[in-house]
Amino acid sequence: MSTTSLMSYEDALETYDPVMGLEVHVELGTATKMFCGCSTEFGAEPNSQVCPTCLGMPGALPVVNAVAVESAIRIGLALNCNIAEWCRFARKNYFYPDMPKNFQTSQYDEPIAFEGYLDVQVEGKTWRVEIERAHMEEDTGKSLHMGGATGRIHGADYSLLDYNRCGIPLIEIVTKPIEGAGELAPLVAKAYVAELRELIRALGVSEARMELGQMRCDANLSLRPKGREKFGTRSETKNVNSLRSVERAIRFEIQRHATVLTDGGTIVQETRHFHEDDGSTTAGRIKEEAEDYRYFPEPDLVPVAPSREWVEELRATLPELPSLRRARLQAEWGVNDFEMQSMVNAGVLDVILATIDAGAHADAARKWWLGELSRRANERGVEVATLPITAAQVARVAALVESGELNDKLARQVIDGVLAGEGEPDAVVEARGLKVVSDDSALGAAVDEAIAANAGIADKIRGGKVQAVGALVGAVMKTTRGQADAARVRELILERLGVS
């Protein structure tokens, strides 16, 4: 189904209520894997971070990574969940070459955390997304399908297996059905994933970089005719791996489901792939029968029984949660909801705070990160925080503006220089000769020239129309290539014209 043959989004929502379910996998940033001592370092030589346990060698046994359990509990607590007093791992049995034991050690009916919620902001209103569970499991390896055109297993000549990722700790966070969002559903989904990402980062348990697969989202969607209780059949769109994609995938699926249902068709319960290029989804492999994973408690591991004292200790040491921090900062900075939301969406709160810590005024720090730097990041298609400029460097630029040594225009050129790798702001200023000229003798000639060249405007000003001075200031700025101190230029012009 192409995007063009779909029913419009508005029409779809006239008739149907969307119901969503989101499953987010987070790779924990622990130093070692879930059940063995292998490193979790990203980008190592294939199959260089493996051992008998994560290769599923005969006889090898798992041992639970205590740091991963701690991270899971902290995530659970931050999501307002109950923490199990006693829970077990379970084996999820299915055959796949990138899973060496041919079962995944996961949790089934005894998750470490359950029954929680996460509040998210959508268009100025708070949405409570209820969490069903958060459980621990291990990641699989990676298959690389060689030959063939698509990089998919179908049509490939052969496959290569890399088990470095195999056994990396994952936390899977599953929401309860999200109902009643109506046309806001795609935004709720996106806001939920964004908020969850902030939370995971604030906890320091993962960098949660979606582009690296450290955080992966599966989006379930079903529609039901308005006014009906029963849920419709759902589709599960796998690996939707950016915030924008989450929104688009939900939106597309709403339209696709509505189109099928309105045409009298039926929705098949299936997994679907999301395509970044056109925002569509296509069906994955159709399974003839429902997969039976034959879950049973993992006999090689003892139950996890976190003591209540430990859980309370972890609760007491949770960092300030993103939503609370946002409320506090918004009050401190006195900004409106819209501006606050813009900063959250751009992911710049942390760098703004770091810039303030480095000595910048809050207003200046916000202005640079949300304005100029966000624009540069957009141009480059990267996240703002990953731009090659530090909070300290931005603070220095702000300080130079503050002291009048740079104006905004020159400051932007300094930022250009820093981003281009020309060194610290002061070095860029020096190398490029970017100094505001406020020396009267240097400016005098330019001012005289401007007055002479714009005699008519000068007369108007003399005649009392002071607001016309801007045109003359502009002319001076032009001849000085932006390096003049605009305020001083204005003073000089008015002085010369005897208006001051």
Partner: protein
């Protein structure tokens, strides 16, 4: 050197320590014995002569340097082929692992090496430890040294046969439903299943993770205790290993006594299916215990009746998952890798070709028992039975110090007799299975020969979890009493090979 191979492990170790013989000489004597008789017994799947002689030489060198030798330094041992040995083939009696050389040592293997034990080679077993006769080995059956046309029991028939035929004074077995104790009974040797979690399972190729337990096989109670001490103790690589001091089994074996003990006779271990000669020897053993000063109490464990069906749901369920890893992707057999077949087909072809009939039967049983819709009725129910059996034991151990029973309902049966009748074969483990389900400790030691066939009968002693020392205290007393009654060890009556 004929004498050397008949020494106990304790005698061997002190002879080496005292310089009466070198470890290399002892190892060579056993290698010669293997050479001479194993064609008839087929206890070994792989003999590592070079490795054994090198290990023996290391012990001799250590002694020459004046190092203190451990209590088993230089003693040869036959290792069940289910424990990984770095660089030495480990097949689990299966075609699936033909030629596989593990990249790592099991914790048990490592501990044996650290103790200076000389590993002679790897012993035959039912494929992946599934069986009670060693006939399910993909490499052919093992013969019982008492009568090579009969089975030595299983799955650890190779280990039991090796020590019964003096090819090694010590061996290692694993006991999931009786695979150490039942072969011990059928070969007239001593076998101990330690408390679950007492000996590390790291490197033990899993059959049923919640039941498997490695343990010692020997010709005397003291030798078993020495070996038990060498391999037991907490292992951080095995989460289910118990982090507590090992019961003092060697001390218990040296001070055998039953005086003042209350000993329970389990009522349910008798009746139909039990051979008359087995029951007669058992009755005598109970009488002996009474004479030695024990108080005999009849105990009922009503839920033991359900042990067998529960076991045949739990063990295959876990096995179906444990054996899923044999998929031709990383090690072992690979069938159909001709560029024409997909990975999925290669997995399927390999499993079809690599597993024997009994393994397939259990994988199917287990897969079915865990299936959605059947889980509660089968696996779930079996776990409840397991709890009930554990409670029966708890109630029993509230009244008595140890329990006793025949180890097996019958003596060694002819090779081939039960091969086509899985149910008859499964009955061989009737008396041993409850201890695996409950995770407690149990021993089998010889209590004579059955009148009707002249074959060994085993006496089983069962102790509470982490009270393994009681097995040795009682076992040593029984062993000493029989030795004085018989005038010589039972194995001396085995026909020459």
């Amino acid at each position: 050197m004929t004498e050397t191979i008949r020494w106990t492990a304790a005698e061997t170790a002190s002879a080496i320590a005292d310089g009466k013989v070198t470890a290399v000489e002892v190892a060579q004597a056993h290698l010669d014995r293997i050479e001479a008789v194993d064609a008839k017994v087929h206890a070994f799947l792989h003999v590592d002569a070079d490795g054994a002689l090198a290990a023996a030489k290391a012990v001799d060198d250590a002694r020459a340097r004046g190092d203190r030798l451990g209590p088993l330094a230089g003693v040869p041992l036959a290792l069940k082929d289910v424990f990984t040995t770095k660089g030495v083939p480990t097949t689990c009696g299966s075609k699936m692992l033909d030629g596989w050389k593990p990249p790592y040592d099991a914790t048990l293997t490592r501990r044996l090496k650290d103790a200076g034990v000389v590993i002679l080679g790897k012993t035959n077993m039912d494929e992946f430890a599934m069986g009670s006769s060693t006939e399910n080995s993909a490499y052919g059956p093992t013969g019982n040294p008492w009568d090579p046309s009969r089975v030595p029991g299983g799955s650890g028939g190779g280990s039991a046969a090796a020590i019964a035929s003096f090819q090694a004074p010590l061996a290692i077995g694993t006991d999931t439903g009786g695979s150490i104790r039942q072969p011990a009974a059928l070969t007239g040797t001593v076998g101990v299943k330690p408390t679950y979690g007492g000996v590390s399972r790291y490197g033990l190729v899993a059959f049923s993770s919640s039941l498997d337990q490695g343990g010692p096989c020997a010709r005397t109670v003291l030798d078993a205790a020495l070996l038990h001490e060498a391999i037991a103790g907490h292992d951080p690589l095995d989460s289910t290993s118990i982090d507590a001091p090992v019961p003092n089994v060697v001390e218990a074996a040296r001070s055998g006594s039953v005086k003042g003990l209350r000993i329970g006779v389990v009522k349910e271990f008798a009746g139909e299916g039990y051979q008359a000669g087995v029951l007669a020897r058992f009755a005598e053993a109970v009488e002996l215990l009474r004479e030695l000063g024990a108080e005999i109490v009849e105990i009922s464990c009503p839920n033991f009746t359900y042990a067998m069906p529960a076991y045949y749901l739990i063990a295959p369920s876990e096995a179906s998952s444990n054996l899923a890893r044999f998929d031709a992707m990383r090690y072992g057999l690979r069938v159909g890798d001709d560029g024409e077949h997909s990975a999925e087909e290669v997995m399927s072809l390999t499993r079809e070709a690599g597993f024997g009939a009994e393994v397939k039967r259990r994988i199917m049983l287990g897969t079915y028992a865990l299936s959605s819709g059947y889980y509660d009725a089968y696996y779930g129910q079996a776990q409840k039975v397991r709890t009930l059996i554990t409670r029966d034991f708890e109630a029993a151990f509230g009244q008595v110090d140890v329990l006793v029973s025949p180890t097996t309902p019958t003596t060694a049966f002819p090779i081939g007799e039960r091969a086509d009748d899985p149910m008859a074969m499964y009955l061989a483990d009737l008396c041993t299975i409850p201890s695996n389900l409950a995770g407690n400790a149990a021993m089998s030691l010889p209590c004579g020969l059955a009148d009707e066939d002249g074959l060994p009968v085993g006496l089983q002693i069962i102790a509470p979890a982490m009270a393994d020392d009681r097995l040795y205290r009682v076992g040593a007393a029984v062993e000493a009493a029989y030795l004085s009654r018989w005038g010589a060890p039972l194995l001396d009556r085995a026909p020459a090979l």
